[in-house]
Assembly symmetry: C2
């Protein structure tokens, strides 16, 4: 299958498991006229950082846009992460462009790396007539090598010339590393003063266990919304989307999710029903992008939702869910289609969440695997029917508490080891 067909098919398959909130409709992929939200153009080209594939992405706003962002919590955060934080502060959350390269993370590159990121922003600003602090910079790829800034500078005119409101596929391609398909999604949300569009692109696909931040994701909307309210919506949605996925438990040095709002569409006021709806729509786009990252996790052949219920509180549910989702023994059992509930409760048992063994219950989709009292009288044949599917849910109840969490994970396959035993990322 071609990459774009793969992406569309993955989105269809994820849709079959969930639905959009009321008032929210899907735009991309699907609509013939899939323009990016008004006020934005994008492009993606090859700048010679990688041999053949697209490696430089531009997202341009025609006027200062409200911006919000979350960043990696990794202490070895990359130069572009540090610079983008400064620019967001310096511009009071009003940005004009995002420039992002793949093939080189500009991470662990020290003071030279920060100079390089600064130059990448300055060159972009000069090329498009912006202030440097209006440019967000991002990089992804190999850690510890200096960024080829001259190549990036030389490619900027072509990058600008290629920009358009329909170039989101090029843009999504240009930020890929080991991803096997580009990740994008867009919705319309019906607000009181009209329809707002929210669209985004993202990339995975290894070193994925975002923590209060994400892998690279860039979102745009034409809504008119203040930076501070946009940040609140981004942070809230981030907690249950990008922060709820894991491929390998490794939190990257370069994680970043940013959203820009051009203000060309309907107004979103704090505390309004529109604000609630906008938040739900943003969350729907981010959740889809996050789930696409898991579907395309390095070597992944299965997409599994880990849902914890009945925990003492949501935090304990989250830590239990993440522990199950990251357990190599659970992930290899998922890969081997083994109904190995023992490994699941062993992972829950070491997670630190509080519970009484005898109250545990486990389901694979709707099939009860373990009943309270450690009664595992399920049919192996029925279980096999569920776990041989490409996507399913593992649900664990810890008891009678109010805490719940859902995270999404993939299996651990030999392909993951093949990819990471040779790729220097």
């Amino acid at each position: 299958m071609e990459p774009f067909e793969k992406a569309a098919s993955a989105i269809d398959s994820l849709f079959s498991r969930s639905s959009l909130p009321a008032g929210v409709t899907r735009v991309v992929p699907g609509s013939v006229e899939a323009y990016w939200p008004a006020g934005f153009t994008l492009s993606g080209i090859n700048a010679g950082i990688k041999p053949q594939r697209k490696d430089l992405m531009l997202l341009l706003c025609d006027a200062p846009s409200s911006a919000a962002s979350v960043f990696t919590t990794n202490r070895c955060s990359a130069a572009p992460v540090e610079l983008s934080k400064r620019h967001l502060a310096a511009s009071n959350g009003r940005m004009r462009a995002v420039v992002c390269n793949s093939g080189n993370a500009n991470a662990a590159t020290g003071s030279k790396g920060l100079l390089d990121a600064t130059r990448m922003a300055a060159d972009t600003a000069a090329e498009f007539g912006l202030k440097a602090e209006e440019v967000l910079v991002a990089s992804t790829g190999v850690i510890g090598q200096l960024l080829p800034v001259d190549r990036i500078a030389a490619a900027l005119p072509a990058l600008g010339a290629a920009a358009g409101a329909q170039q989101w596929q090029d843009a999504a391609e240009a930020i890929m590393t080991t991803d096997t398909f580009p990740k994008f999604f867009a919705v319309d949300v019906a607000l009181s003063a009209g329809t707002a569009r929210i669209a985004g692109i993202a990339k995975g696909s290894g070193m994925i266990c975002p923590n209060m931040a994400t892998m690279l994701a860039f979102l745009c909307t034409d809504a008119s919304i203040e930076p501070s309210l946009l940040q609140e919506h981004l942070s809230a949605a981030n907690a249950v989307s990008f922060n709820a996925i894991t491929v390998d438990g490794d939190t990257s040095t370069n994680d970043m999710a940013a959203v820009l709002a051009s203000g060309r569409g309907p107004v979103v006021e704090r505390g309004s029903e529109d604000s609630r709806l906008f938040g739900e729509a943003l969350r729907a786009v981010m959740t889809m992008l996050a789930q696409l990252i898991v579907v395309d996790g390095e070597g992944a052949t299965k997409f599994v939702e880990i849902r914890i219920e009945g925990a003492a509180n949501d935090d304990e549910a989250q830590v239990a869910a993440m522990t199950v989702a990251n357990s190599p023994l659970v992930k290899t059992a998922i890969h081997g289609e083994d109904a190995n509930w023992g490994r699941i409760i062993a992972a829950v048992g070491r997670s630190g969440a509080s519970f009484v063994q005898e109250e545990l219950a486990v389901w694979f989709d709707g099939l009860e695997i373990l009943k309270p009292g450690l009664d595992a009288g399920f049919s192996e044949e029925e279980a096999k029917k569920v776990i041989s599917k490409d996507a399913y849910a593992i649900r664990v109840s810890l008891g009678g508490g109010p805490g719940t969490a859902a995270v999404w994970t993939c299996d651990l396959s030999m392909r993951y080891i093949e990819i990471n035993g040779s790729y220097r990322s």
Copy 2:
């Protein structure tokens, strides 16, 4: 290579990387007359829990011995773990026997599992004329299946008949699951009143990331030492031996390490030089057993020491070392013999340990890979010489702090996935 030759060769190879404390000499493997410490006999036979291989182990003391033990912190701890804790308390740390089966973990088996463990202890006590609370019970193998207690009971006479002071190889074999070789080690330590012997057996080799406890390990000594002092030495040594290894980050439901002291040899008094020496010797035996578990980790082809220096304190060094040691990206790079220092510092960066990026330094054995200032001007060729070895050390300095830690880990190979995609453990 035969399993015992593999074990001996692994011990030799580990010896080439470290040395025993002064006053401590190796007994097993090596000595022709490798008797277990005075006061103990052992055996290992097949009781029909597994089709062919030995699956039932007995360790018998000829009189009540001082006993100390550490157990898993997994909240889904197995029935034998719970029962053994009760027995240690009930007997005031004076034990006569350890009985252990492989092939079935008696974990997640509820009240029936606790009854089964209780019967296993009672049957053993009856067979050998002991009190039930003088028997430690352990199990390892598949989670969530009921223990075939009738087979164990039927095998007890043969288990007793086979017991001897030289049957430690049989005993080490009988507790194996996916281990490819039995794990054993023994030393003599010269104390002021004579020589004490410390010997132990252990098993791995998946679900290995002990936390305040260990996989199964049973240690014996002829030293004369109070249970409380023995417990202090065991806990201290445990923190830097079994708690300093990881294969896959999964803490088992059945981890247990116990030490029995028959009192037939020299006296070890609290606060004495002998006590310090005894502690060092115990630590040496436990460290060797722990490292053997890593060497024989599921699918492991590399043994790597992760050493953190210059941390703010030992706790931060430990968490940084464990984060590196458990990172799938680091472990696959080790497997692929890729000098991927970026993944190492990325793991340190997400560990929570505090440091400044620019002060990080990384060595592979003696070879400097990353200098402070993020200067990675090393020779790939020289690096390859180190990382193509079967065993080496990755050393990371976080700065100028006093904190240090060492943990031992293995690579993540396709064989791990093969083993765990099919084995229901």
